[in-house]
Subunit: 421 residues, 2 copies
């Protein structure tokens, strides 16, 4: 990184927020360093489809440096940020190298969290990274394999019980995909067990699934889940998770597979900067998305909390994209001596699928459900994927599942350090 | 596994040998148990393309139980075999359950091996499983990433040096793919290093690459490799491998990435049975592929050594397929009271690619090289893949690379136990 004398923008994070900031800076007279600890941008909304064998990891992930290869002013660094020195104006990496900035955009996202119950994590893994997804895929498929070899009927029943904790979009989408995996894809593949007898239980502490959606869409989603065969338990928060068992209200269910879709915790960005954070670790940024006391530092996406139009901005991918673009525009406006724009979040809509024939979509001006919703969801997601190759590849995978019920990524792979070769 | 009174065939291994045995038993009056420690059949000839980011794991692997789902007489078990009790006639699994057989087919393959230098393994990993491939992919991509961040020119040079040990098809194909990854795919993606300056060195102890091919094809392959920019060192066996350095003859080369493509060791099947094995651990089977002293036990593929037409049968996928089919035919003939056929290996050909524009193919009656060879190789491999979905998917991936040079599976993923989330 030779100093060209240009304004130096450092972006931490190559997710929706960081990448859209980099894109919005195109043409600006700046030099950019884009830092991520992973080499790939991940399309998180489809991660549950990797976990449930419909898509393979490379269909929803792209090398970050390939995405910005045509932008010579962007240097991509694979590295773990360990801190930010806001006085010296540089970012510190894990090998103690420093990356100086004039403007900094922090878009480091969030991770699933257990809010005081970290001991639950090994028994109820969550879903944020590609590795989380392939681990979840292995756990799901191994449960059926072990059930096929299990002679004890009680143990077999527990192996064929799948519990999802959390009734937001991730929990709903996982529940629908798991029951279809059992009832359609695996139906004819076993000789001792009947995969279609698998029990899928979705536990939501609140009074309805998809609590951030309109009530009528929550009600529709509940019915669609139940029609698929998913049991839904509402209004009883989970009080205990241990190996092979989960307790909610007065009920304890034995289940070999318990998956966590209930909570997220922001990245440690607030700690790097020593600024105030809310209970979920999110920085309370100013209305222009700058960090209080640091006008040259912006934070966007799931690692911040901000109010726009009198309402808190939701933790969704599109909010991160809009935040990233806004931070870029403020930087450009300042360089030009213009008045920076105000951040106004525009909510495009809420969207979730239930299995492969129903979805709920709320664009505000129109609501879609059923198979129309599903097709709209599918087309929208193919549109948002990056590049022709992945669009064709995902469309092919979905078409194949739609026509045959076969899912093409039913692989049990192990930790590479393991000995299962 | 209820006893139906039918002849019970147990097949250990769902690779080329075991799967073709199961297919050849179609229609026979037997019940079959197919045991594998992995849930997937792997198309090993294309594994190097997963390691070098051209294909994703699910494009070359299929759930075994899905492949035999239409055969109700086949029970698939995911399990690790720990022994065979040939007196009691049952197979022992890792949970001490036993699977009784009347006829047994062992098709357990081989694994890469270091022949007295097991301490080399951590410094020079090999390629046999999907996990090996994703680990190799990570190592290759991380070398470029680390080089981009490395200030010391000597260390940077070592990071951009890639050594392949072994000049057989795997070493040749890896070398060609790695240099194209560097010179084409990654060319424009870095700002500090020039990936096209990467040094790829192929070391073969013998006097020519592809030693099992005809001499003129070895000579062609050598020229094709050199034209791509691969350095080839012949006639000097590797004498030392340590972290970051390899020694052959009087030369020591510093390289961050050293990959092993030199030797294989058979599965422990000979130990299970307590029968004689050769230096590579392979069972010396009878001409009908039965294990000496055990006419009801057959062993096929890479875990055996056998002579046919006066020549040793090579350790290639097609030989395993033919062996599996033969064992099935002997079992059927015996059940019918007919004279079992003799095993006659028919060599279909030798085939290897060098990058994405050259290949050498020897069908015996015709030899193909250059781009004609490459297209014949591509069509043959798409033909041998299982299922329409994977054929279309692989064809799409190759077409994309051919047209754009972009490889779609350039993902650095970590061991799921790791903390890189």
């Amino acid at each position: 990184m030779t100093n060209t004398g240009k304004h130096r923008v450092v972006i931490i994070g190559g997710g929706f927020g960081g990448l859209s900031a980099a894109q919005a800076l195109q043409g600006a007279d700046v030099e950019i360093t884009l830092i991520d600890r992973r080499n790939h941008h991940l399309f998180q909304p489809l991660l549950y489809q990797v976990a449930t064998t419909a898509l393979s990891p490379s269909e929803i992930a792209w090398p970050i440096r390939q995405l910005v290869r045509s932008r010579p002013e962007i240097t991509t660094l694979l590295g773990e940020v360990t801190g930010v020195d806001s006085a010296a104006k540089h970012v510190v990496l894990d090998d103690d190298t420093t990356v100086p900035y004039d403007s900094l955009i922090i878009a480091t996202g969030a991770r699933h969290a257990y809010f005081g119950h970290d001991d639950w994590e090994p028994h109820a893994p969550g879903l944020k990274s590609l590795e989380d997804a392939t681990a979840m895929r292995r756990q799901l498929l191994l449960a059926f394999e072990q059930a096929e070899r299990e002679a004890d009927p009680d143990k077999r029943k527990a192996l064929l019980t799948f519990v999802l904790i959390g009734g937001g979009p991730t929990g709903v989408e996982l529940a629908g995909a798991i029951i279809e995996l059992a009832r359609t894809t695996l139906r004819a593949d076993f000789r001792t067990i009947h995969p279609e007898d698998a029990r899928v239980l979705l536990i939501e502490g609140g009074q309805r699934v998809l609590p951030n959606f309109r009530e009528n869409l929550s009600a529709y989603a509940l019915k669609a889940l139940q029609k698929l065969g998913v049991e839904v338990a509402l209004g009883q928060p989970v009080t205990q998770v241990e190996a092979g068992a989960v307790t909610y209200g007065a009920t304890t269910v034995k289940a070999a597979t318990i998956l966590w879709a209930a909570g997220v915790l922001a990245s440690p960005a607030a700690k790097w900067l020593g600024v105030e954070a809310d209970r979920a670790g999110r920085i309370k940024v100013e209305p222009d998305l700058s960090v209080p006391g640091h006008p040259e530092i912006f934070a966007v996406g799931d690692t911040v909390t901000v109010v726009s139009n009198g309402k808190p901005v939701p933790g969704v991918g599109d909010a991160a994209k809009q935040g990233g673009r806004h931070a870029a525009r403020v930087i450009v406006a300042r360089l030009r001596g213009e008045t920076p724009p105000t951040f106004r979040y525009s909510h495009a809509g809420d969207i979730a699928t239930i299995g492969r024939s129903a979805a709920v979509i709320d664009f505000g001006w129109i609501q879609l459900t059923g198979w129309i919703g599903w097709w709209a969801w599918g087309l929208a997601h193919i549109y948002f994927l990056i590049g022709i190759k992945n669009r064709v590849s995902v469309a092919l995978s979905w078409l194949w599942i739609y026509l045959t019920g076969h899912r093409s990524a039913r692989l049990i792979t192990y930790s590479e350090a393991g000995d299962k070769r």
